[in-house]
């Protein structure tokens, strides 16, 4: 077996004045090339924190306490800022959550799409423009020439997200981080965007970290997934196993809470308080053991 594309091991992140509040608790996960790995959980589970930790854009106040994030065997956490930026810039890219704020409202799409190509690939303005047009075509954008001249506010939400996907795949990255890329979109547009991300990913053999709170989205787009609660892995494995034979009670409870139009009798069962209590107890036990070690 070859080395994984991305290997996170025993990652711990903390916040608070003295780092007293854990945000991530010993999270480990491997992502192979060409694989879509879902980071699933409810708000506060730490799924976005992991994505931000990989990209090195953790918000002020959150820091990594221990662990490693290895990209093709190179631990990102040991690199200095500039070599880390070089490595990330050429190999990892982001599809952000909000397609409106992620684009600069005052610059045309062309300028924003060609920036990376010129900076990282050293393309001339003309070559970058040609490549950008190809990319827009690849993300099935109608009238790419017109879109290149447009400002972000002239595009619909779905079109903006297509532009951002084009930008994300522009540099042929090995890893794409998709941070809840469809939460701001209508369901029909969401489906098109998911289909597009999956198609691009399969065509380019890209590894994808897919952050989402929607188990339905996980089922459709992810190969493997990590289910988090309060920064701790509750269950990890192939999506098929997770959905068909969930081992952790929390996974099962979340499945039962999901409404399903095909089975109106099932779903919408509130997560029993005992399940949350067990999860919290599990985490408290982990924290105690950890405190004992230090």
């Amino acid at each position: 077996m070859t080395a994984p594309l991305l290997s996170i091991s025993h990652l711990n992140a903390v916040t608070g004045r003295n780092g007293e509040t854990p945000i991530l608790r010993d999270v480990s996960l491997d992502i192979a090339a060409g694989e879509v790995h879902g980071l699933v959980g409810e708000s506060g589970a730490g799924k976005s924190t992991i994505a931000k930790a990989i990209l090195g854009i953790l918000p002020r106040g959150i820091r990594i306490a221990s662990g490693s994030i290895a990209l093709e065997g190179v631990d990102l956490l040991t690199l200095d800022a500039s070599s880390r930026r070089k490595l990330l810039g050429a190999t990892v890219s982001l599809i952000p959550q909000d397609p409106l704020t992620a684009l600069n409202p005052g610059r045309r799409i062309e300028a924003q799409l060609t920036d990376g190509l010129r900076l990282w690939r050293g393309l001339s303005a003309a070559d970058a423009r040609l490549r950008a047009l190809q990319l827009l075509d690849e993300v099935q954008m109608a009238e790419p020439e017109r879109v290149m001249k447009a400002f972000p506010h002239e595009l619909s939400g779905g079109m903006r997200q297509r532009v951002l996907i084009a930008a994300a795949f522009a540099l042929e990255p090995k890893l794409v981080i998709a941070d809840e890329p469809t939460t701001a979109l209508d369901v029909t547009v969401q489906k098109q965007i998911l289909r597009l991300i999956r198609a691009m990913q399969e065509r380019h053999g890209t590894g994808v970290v897919f952050v989402t709170h929607d188990l339905g989205v996980v089922a459709q787009i992810c190969d493997r997934a990590t289910l988090l609660y309060m920064g701790k892995t509750m269950e990890q494995g192939r999506v098929k196993d997770l959905l068909d034979a969930p081992r952790h009670p929390y996974t099962r409870a979340l499945m039962d809470a999901c409404p399903r139009y095909d089975q109106p009798g099932r779903g919408l069962a509130p997560v029993p308080e005992t399940v949350f209590a067990d999860c919290r107890a599990e985490i408290a036990a982990f924290d105690r053991e950890r405190a004992g070690h230090v």
Partner: protein, 284 residues
């Protein structure tokens, strides 16, 4: 489910040919803005004790329709009867007696609760306004009962909206809607910002309240799975028109309109379906 026409006899809300348009009026200096129609003649009937789903994507007019049913936006044409009272064209003062019978729960509980008022004020003020409590003491008793009913501790009364969690805020929003004991509640995308586990709790609570208080509800949502779970009937809106309507079982089992089919098919189910995204079919 029965036919909407037969329902209309005992319907709580009976809206016919509702047209809502923005702009169009002349301003003081005579510039007429072009009129933009948001609803093009919509019929909606909500029976007593019924929950009706209104689904559609952004721009479909579902939010406007909901607000029109409550008399919150000016209606250009058509009729909306609430318990046989025509509300189209009524002035705010004339509408006030009906106000306490129709309430609304909002999508974003943070922005729907005044950040400057504590929860006590938010819940007590409407009771005093409508004379449902003689004094603050009596209102306080009622408010505590409602708070308990929605599963919040009495200590929440002292809190300000920003001091509560998202789920707690949504419960306050529900408490405010039911504290006047209304007949009709409009729920506008009320669970779209919530986690799955919180969503299930909130919807369960709403179901109980609906049963206990014999509420009629309009449930606006883009999530058809949720609509299927909580609604009796459903209206599918697209471009300001109802493209399909009927009993939930029937619409979900055999949708007639193509748009309904697309909408239903766009919901990702937590079941692996490689066909759904066309996975593994390299399309180059």
């Amino acid at each position: 489910m029965s036919d909407p026409l037969t329902i209309s006899e005992q319907a709580l809300i009976d809206a016919r040919g509702v047209v809502v348009a923005y702009g169009g009026q002349r301003s003081a200096f005579g510039r007429a803005k072009p009129e933009k129609r948001v609803l093009h003649g919509v019929d909606v009937v909500i029976g007593r004790g019924q929950t009706v789903g209104i689904v559609g994507e952004s721009g479909s007019g579902k939010t406007t329709l909901g607000r029109a049913l409550l008399g919150l936006v000016p209606v250009a044409d058509g009729s909306i009867r609430f318990d046989r009272h025509e509300i189209v064209g009524l002035k705010e003062d004339a509408l006030r007696p009906l106000r306490k019978r129709m309430q609304m729960i909002f999508q974003d509980p943070m922005s729907s609760l005044n950040p400057r008022h504590d929860i006590r004020h938010i819940l007590i003020a409407p009771l005093l306004l409508h004379g449902l409590a003689r004094d603050r003491r009596e209102a306080e008793v009622q408010v505590r009962a409602v708070l308990d009913r929605v599963g919040l501790p009495a200590s929440a009364l002292e809190r300000y909206p920003h001091e509560l969690s998202g789920g707690q805020r949504q419960r306050v929003g529900i408490a405010r809607a039911v504290v006047l004991a209304p007949d009709f509640v409009l729920a506008d995308e009320i669970v779209s910002g919530l986690d799955v586990s919180t969503q299930a709790q909130v919807l369960q609570l709403l179901g109980e309240l609906k049963r206990d208080m014999n509420l009629s509800m309009a449930f606006i949502s883009h999530d058809l799975s949720v609509v299927r779970a909580v609604c009796d009937r459903v209206y599918v809106l697209s471009g300001g028109r109802v493209v399909e309507q009927g009993a939930c079982e029937q619409v979900f089992a055999s949708p007639h309109h193509d748009y309904t089919k697309v909408l239903i098919d766009a919901i990702p189910l937590p079941v692996i379906d490689p066909q759904w995204l066309g996975r593994g079919q390299r399309s180059t």
